[in-house]
Every structure is written in C-alpha cells, then in structure tokens.
C-alpha cells in the first residue's frame, strides 16, 4: 500500500499525508466553511432549476450594446465579473457582519472591519470601469450605461421585459 511505503521511508511525510487526508475528509463532512487548500470540488453538483425570470447585466459603451460573441471567453468574463462584484458589495459586507466576524470572534481572533468591508462608490467605480473597458474594447469610453434587465424565459427563449434597474441602484 502506498501509505505503508511512505511510512517506511519517512514518518514525517507519512504524518503530513495523513493530516492532509484527515483535513480534507473533515471539510467534506462539515460542509460549509473551507480552509485552503481543502475545498469542496462540487462542480455544479447542487440542484439547478429553470426559472421563469432572470436578471441579466447589459453594458452599453458609447450607446452600443456589447455582445458576448464579439469577445473571447476571458474578455467577456473580464467585462462581466467586476459588475457582478460591484452589485454584490452589500451581500459581501453582510457575509462579514453576520458570519465572518462572529466566527473570527469565536476563534478569539480580532477582525479589522476595513479589511473586509467595501463601500459603494459608484462614481469611482464607473471612472475605473470606463478605462478598464476601453482597454478591452480598444476604444475610448465616452458614455457608459450598465443596467440589470429583467428577462422572462418563455417559449424556449429569453424575452426582455420593461423592468430595468441601473447598476448604481444595486449598491447604495
């Protein structure tokens, strides 16, 4: 057996490997909090259901809607992900206030709020995103419009509704 061979070679190496296996099993059974490098490798294992409506991010640069088909996978991710992160600032902060702070206190570890909390500063974000986007699209961003558009999934297609909110309203 592999571990027997390791034990014969080096007890230290054997103990490290046993620790690694035990820690990974513990994280699996505990479910929820992970400790790097012990993760859950679920890869879309949780049940996903088709929904009636979806909130979809739309980006207009200089009045023109950006299309996924005009960008590589990495570029499209670079365009979309910062917007999701900005829209998620409130839930990021909530996670800290409700869970992280409590757990760190339980472990007798102080938590400096400013290292975990982000502020909603749309003007600063928009200025940064204009430059960032210009480098991806290779054109200056004179006007920018980012919105969360509600779509319905009916007749096997996504159909746009009239319900639209702008990114600045997602975090304020």
């Amino acid at each position: 057996m592999f571990l027997q061979k390791v034990y014969k070679h080096s007890r230290w190496l054997f103990l490290i490997m046993i620790f690694f296996v035990a820690a990974q099993l513990f994280i699996n059974f505990k479910q929820g909090l992970v400790i790097s490098p012990f993760y859950h490798y679920g890869m879309f294992s949780a049940v996903s259901k088709l929904k009636d409506s979806y909130e979809i991010i739309e980006v207009q640069q200089n009045g023109k809607m950006l299309r996924g088909q005009d960008f590589s996978i990495q570029e499209w991710d670079k365009i979309m992900l910062p917007l999701q992160y900005y829209a998620g600032i409130n839930s990021n902060n909530k996670l800290f206030r409700t869970d992280i702070k409590r757990l760190l206190t339980k472990l007798h570890l102080s938590a400096n709020d400013k290292n975990f909390l982000l502020q909603c500063n749309y003007q600063q974000f928009e200025n940064w995103y204009k430059n960032y986007l210009a480098q991806i699209t290779n054109q200056p961003t004179n006007t920018l419009n980012i919105c969360f558009h509600q779509y319905r999934f009916t007749s096997n297609k996504l159909i746009a509704t009239d319900s639209v909110t702008v990114l600045s309203q997602q975090c304020n």
Binding site: V34, H40, V47, L50, Q69, L104, F116, L118, L158
Partner: protein, 252 residues
Amino acid sequence: MLFQLKPILFSTRFDLFTWLLMKTGIHRWLLNNPGGWLVFDITFYSMPFLHWLTYRKNPRLASIVAALMLVVNWLYIQCFTLYPTNSIEAFTPWLLFPILFMTVDLKSFYFIFHALRYFFLYFFVSAAVWKFVQEGIFNPQQMSAILLYHHKEYIASSPAGWYTSFTYWLINHAHLSYILYAGATLLELTFITGFFTRKFDKALAAGFIFFLLLDHFIMRIPYWEMSPFLLTLLYSKYSLPSIYSSHARKVM
C-alpha cells in the same frame, strides 16, 4: 496577471485561511495599486525560473527557493482569486506543486509526486460523488438550468450568434443536455480506477483534456489552470531506480 485585472474591489469567500490573510490587509493594499501589481506579478512568474536556476547551481539551496515559491504562490493566488476572476479551486495545483520541489531527496520527491496524483484523482472522484450527495445528478433539468444561468448575459447580448443557437438547442433539449451532465459525471467517476492501477493513466489524461475542452467550449469556463495535474498522470509510469528501493517497481 494582476496587472491585467487591475483590481479595485474584492469578494470574500467562506474560507478561514483567506480570512486570516485578509486580516493582514494585503489584498486591500493591492487595490488600485499598479506598483503592487507589478511587484506581485514579477515575483510570482519569476519563481519557477529562479528555482530552476538555483537547482542548476546549488541543488541544496533549491529547496529553500521552493519553500519561498510556496509562500509567494499562496499569497498571490489567495489575493488574485479574491478579485473578479476564476475560483480558487482551479488554482489548487499552483498551491500544492511547490511542495514537490521542496525536497532534494529523489525518494521523497517520488512519494510527494504520487500523493499529488492521488489528490488529482480525488478531485475528480469527489466532484462525481458530490453530484450524488447534492442530488444534481437526479435532476433531469440540471444541465439546461446551468447553461441558461451561466450563459444568460451572452445569450441576451448575442441573440443571433451560432453559439446562442447551439446553447438554446441544448437548453431546450433537456434530455440531451442531461446526457452531457451525466457523461461528465461518469467521466469524473472513472478516475477512481487510478486508485487501484496506473495502467489507465494515459486514458485518464486523455479524459482530462477532453473534459477541459468541453468545459471551455460548452461551459465557456477556461479551467486550464488545472492542467499541471496532467503531469502526475503522464509521468506516473516511472518507478524509482533500484538503487533507492528494491521494491520500487512494486510501489503502489
């Protein structure tokens, strides 16, 4: 690279180690800090070269450089994945591989290398097991729902593109897309064979490449950061020279 990402915001994950690192404020120091990105990028990408150079000149010192590479990789990957990019799970090989180079003893290297191979096998097998535990595999709508949620921005922005037509076709043929999901689960499950024999490692390596390609083209997830693990399957056939162990060929 951080210089390409230009981070100004982060998202906290549910990871105790990450919280301890965040307490230092290093991730916040890097926000909107081009000088910091440059230092981090150069240090991170030069470490393998530095290790190789040290190994050639003085193999004993190389293990110290490898330990340094481990620290640098952890700092870099932990911060990098807090910003808008891939999840940290994809970078697991970058976190673990430096350990392999921390030893100058061939026998230890051999065992750590095979431990990494086992970890890689576990990575895939656990992904399959989770699909049963979390019941995704029992949901006939699973792949259609994943595809629609994952590609909704692409589909809405490019309604006339061929990829949109293809994705809609998969979404609206739930049974066909479910076969893809079940097929991926089965592929993940086949990695269990690696725990008992190394005979099929080349086939598993081919399966891994196939998985990465499908992930890229169907899911639009570039998971190539996982590719260093491929080495553990491609080089698993080598045994220790007999000078190190009379049982070397029997190991595993």
